[in-house]
Amino acid sequence: MTSPLLQINHLKVNRQDTIICNVEEFEIQPRERVAVIGPNGSGKTTLLRVIAQLESSYSGDILIDPALSQSIYVHQTPVMFRGTVLFNASYGLICQGVPPQDRETVAMTALETLGIASLAHRSCRQLSGGEKRRVAIARAAIVKPALLLLDEPFADIDQTGSDAICELLFSLTETAIVVASPQPVPHQLDCRKFEI
């Protein structure tokens, strides 16, 4: 058995004397897909933020495989930078120093998969919530991180969009994916279920 990418034991996150996230044991194997399912307020977002190392005040043990090169967290409310859809989709590749021609090709392919290639040159401020979510997912998926953390990626998304997202995520064969959702995630993703 391979060593886990990430292992969490006895995680507790407190905010103003209230425990907002309590996880006894959780681990992610390389290339594994996990769906963190739980009702609103159960601590799904906090768990993902702790894994993404965006939270610093918690108690418990978190062991991260030193080989974990990059983990990307996609917020529940998608974040768009000022600029076009294409710029946003290629942001990760810009950070990696990929030449403009190459990154445009890769970004356009991902946008096509998600059915939003026609929006490539539109300002992100003109997008609907669902379109923004798709751009944010494309931006994260394009860099093929070792660990991809998606916070409610299927909210505001219609069936076609949901299928497109599943197709894009399914193509990430080398990426471990953790999806937080209040409802069961589409079966195409073939996720291990973790209830919180």
Partner: protein
């Protein structure tokens, strides 16, 4: 009342004629204020971002000082700069007193708190998820700075315009460290001088240009605000 109408009439005539003293003062005002604001922007934006991003001892004190300094009377800044630049002052050897660089030096301190405070406030009101996303993508320091400047573009432009408006119309600094000599006369000091000489029309002409500058700045601020609220 007749004096005022006569003054206004002559002022328009002077403006249409492009009177050399009026044009000189207007160009000098635009030059010194632009340079002072440019230097203040280069210094102030990194300070404002640092105050927004980092928690360190004395940060709150610096933020409060910067906010308070926005309301400093220009005559007090002028007096302080005069003490620094006068022959016996610590910077006296530079022999800058009563020169254009002296006014730029003084107006820099007028513009700096405006730029620092606005940059800090803009950063604090930025969605934290923007910064988290940049961290997530392991953006380099340079890429993060570029992204931040792009995200904060509108408030930064507003800060620059506000600082320019304040510098272009201030009197205290230009009078005290510029000396109101022919070679250092700005619109504000010229207005004061011409009025004290009884040359109301010239004073009004200078005043009208300042008013025009203030209106242009206000319109530019309104335009950027509109762009921000209703992007194309």
């Amino acid at each position: 009342m007749q004096d005022i109408w006569h003054g206004l009439y002559e002022a328009f005539f002077l403006l249409l004629q492009l009177d050399s003293s009026v044009v000189d003062a207007a160009l000098r005002t635009a030059f010194v204020s632009s340079l002072a604001v440019m230097i203040a922007t280069l210094v102030g934006v990194p300070i404002g971002l640092l105050l927004g991003q980092r928690n360190f001892f004395g940060r709150t004190f610096l933020v409060l000082t910067s906010r308070a300094a926005m309301g400093l009377p220009t005559v007090l800044i002028g007096l302080t700069c005069y003490c620094l630049l006068s022959r016996k002052g610590p910077l006296g050897d530079l022999q800058l007193l009563y020169t254009e660089p002296a006014i730029i030096f003084g107006e820099f301190f007028l513009a700096l708190p405006i730029i620092v405070t606005w940059t800090h406030s803009a950063y604090r009101s930025l969605d934290p998820a923007i910064v988290e996303t940049m961290i997530s993508f392991q953006a380099s320091w340079w890429r993060r700075t570029l992204t931040l400047l792009s995200e904060l573009r509108s408030p930064l432009l507003l800060a620059i315009l506000t600082a320019f408006g304040r510098c272009a119309t201030e009197l205290g600094i230009a009078m005290l460290v510029g000396g109101n000599l022919k070679s250092t006369r700005t619109l504000a000091t010229s207005t004061a001088l011409e009025t004290s000489r009884g040359e109301f029309s010239r004073g009004i002409a200078m005043g009208l240009i300042m008013l025009l500058l203030a209106v242009i700045v206000a319109l530019a601020i309104a335009f950027f605000n509109r762009e921000e609220e209703h992007p194309k």
